[in-house]
Amino acid sequence: METERGLRTRMLPGLTVLTGRGLAGWMVIVGLAIVLSIVVMTLISPWISPYDPSALNVGPLRSPPNGEFPMGTNHMGQDMLSRVLCGGSIMIHVAVLSVLFCLTIGVPIGLLSSYVGGSLDKMCSLIMDSIYAFPGMVLAITISAMLGRGVVNMALSIAVVYIPSYFRIVRSHVLTIKELPYTVAARSIGAKGDTILFRYILPNVVPSIVSVATVNFADAILTAAGLTFVGLGVTKDIPDWGWDLTDGRTLLPSGAWWVITFPGIMIVLLALGFTLIGEGLSELLNPRLEQ
């Protein structure tokens, strides 16, 4: 009876998996809603934007929000609403790519290094720790300045900063799991190294990787915005919230608040969405902390 009830409370159907778990579950739901809405908005933006986001002088210069231009216009007479609707694509691309880079580089190195151990592990750890200790923004700026503009280059320079986070979380998990009785048992019945690594260890590391990756999306978005702000953005030709925010800075003294406020809020929302999902997930996936 006891186990049956335990099972029933744990295996909640549908959305109640999340709604029945307190604040953490709600954080995931709200985060998902925010992120999905922004992604959908960006996807359908070409059809719903009232004006061409790159077209100059579609309205008066620096017009405050009004009926015709609900988010005002900037100093080139571009419609801010259209720019806000379309401006997410570069940032989303960069974030997705950089997380992919991190996953494909950081996770395998972490798995291998900790499973093999010895001097390989020591060397990898030293390199990763050195990168980890370094100010991420400085590193991303340096690499980005050398690689030049472009979505892939930006994603790469961001990935270098965050690969150590994946390495560390994978490594610490593998070191623990490696010594657990079920892994030892598998080894004793003759399971090979790669079987143990991929069938016994990896599945138990996945939850932590997922929560690191989600928070990492937020970091990637904020770093991408920062790179754009210091003048290393992808290109001025495609509408981008980061560029608009950077451009809008010159208009601040004139009190044109709408030029920075709306693109800025979009970046905050996108980063917030991912942070909420990540925070919520890490709490749901680590029941130990929940008590």
């Binding site: 200790a133 923004m137 340096t142």
Partner: protein, 343 residues
């Protein structure tokens, strides 16, 4: 292990880390696609000019020779020459460093102070509305691009209310000189301290006014980490017997929270201060650019705009060594406060 041998081991471990970092920066500037000299001129220079630039900066020598010269130079405090005017990068960095230091110190005070205060409040009212609001506040702060928050503050307090200056470090010409008695001249480069040494309260207030918005921006963005850490550590500590015992003795809740529980929850916060220093420096770059704060971060961004790769390298190396030193100091402090670490 005694404290002394712990310090020695820890310091020795810092050396390969710094060496790795130096090599990494060296390689980024030279080996990544994109020749620094060509990038600097954007292909708009004659081959002779380019060759001359390479020679003057020593970039025409074999890679290994360059590496060796770079390391030897660093041991003598030589951070290389600027591509712009061949001036020593080190000098620029040392003159900008106090501004960055002052900004980061005040930002850290705000981040840690606010983080601890909100974290303790949050843990005290676990799972209440207050707890949830404080946690959400921390998460929202984490998600705000630092320069966006800075611009909002500039707009509200600088442009609309006109209460505070929106940029710079102090009114030009008002820079405090520090203490001057005869030939003795004591100056820290930190304007808030120098103005006090000078005995000029007006300058002190001005320095604070200029410092307020940048350090508040940087501090707020960083405080989330400290809120979360303080909260989770306090939650664990508050469950322990000695806290219950303190309460049973009828001590005031404030005394129990700050005098008993927090003292035990503080050590991880201290470690986090060391770790966050790197994040703080990264944030300082963006904050300095937003507020035209004449520090190292702004220097870095300026150099990027001039495509001055040798200066970028010098600045980054300085950042790296600084972070390594701070983390060494924090680890030693931690070992001093918590003898278990030395085991």
């Amino acid at each position: 292990m005694g404290l002394r041998s712990y310090i020695a081991t820890r310091a020795l471990l810092t050396i390969p880390m710094i060496m790795l970092l130096l090599s990494f920066v060296f390689l980024i500037v030279r080996v990544l696609p994109g020749d620094p000299v060509l990038l600097h001129f954007e292909k708009a220079a004659s081959p002779e000019t380019i060759e001359l630039m390479r020679q003057r900066l020593g970039l025409d020598k074999p890679l290994l020779d360059q590496y060796f010269e770079y390391l030897v130079g660093l041991t003598q405090g030589d951070l290389g020459k600027s591509m712009q005017d061949f001036s020593p990068v080190g000098q620029q960095i040392f003159s900008g460093f106090p501004a960055t230091l002052e900004l980061t110190i005040y930002a850290m005070i705000i981040a840690v102070g606010l983080g601890i205060f909100l974290g303790v409040r949050s843990s005290q009212s676990y799972n209440s509305l207050q707890d949830h609001s404080i946690r959400i506040f921390g998460i929202v702060m984490y998600a705000i691009p630092i320069f966006f928050l800075g611009m909002i503050f500039q707009m509200i307090f600088g442009v609309f209310l006109r209460w505070l200056p929106t940029g710079g470090r102090i009114y030009p010409g008002m820079e405090p000189h520090g203490l001057k008695i005869g030939d003795l001249h004591i100056s820290t480069g930190l304007y808030t301290i120098d103005s006090l040494l000078e005995g000029n309260v007006f300058k002190f207030v001005q320095a604070l006014r200029y410092l307020f918005l940048p350090s508040l921006t940087l501090g707020l963005v960083l405080c989330g980490v400290f809120i979360r850490l303080t909260r989770s550590n306090m939650l664990e500590t508050l469950r322990l017997d000695f806290v219950t015992a303190a309460r049973a003795r009828g001590l005031k809740e404030k005394t129990v929270l700050y005098g008993y529980a927090f003292r035990n929850a503080f050590l991880p916060v201290l470690t986090m201060m060391g770790l966050q220093f790197a994040v703080l420096l990264g944030g300082a770059i963006l904050t300095e650019s937003t507020f035209s704060w004449p520090g190292l971060g702004r220097y870095l961004v300026d150099r990027i705009n001039f495509r001055d790769y040798t200066a970028i390298q010098g600045d980054v190396v300085f950042f790296g060594i600084l972070v390594a030193m701070v983390s060494l100091v924090v680890d030693v402090l931690y070992a001093y406060l918590d003898p278990r670490i030395r085991l």
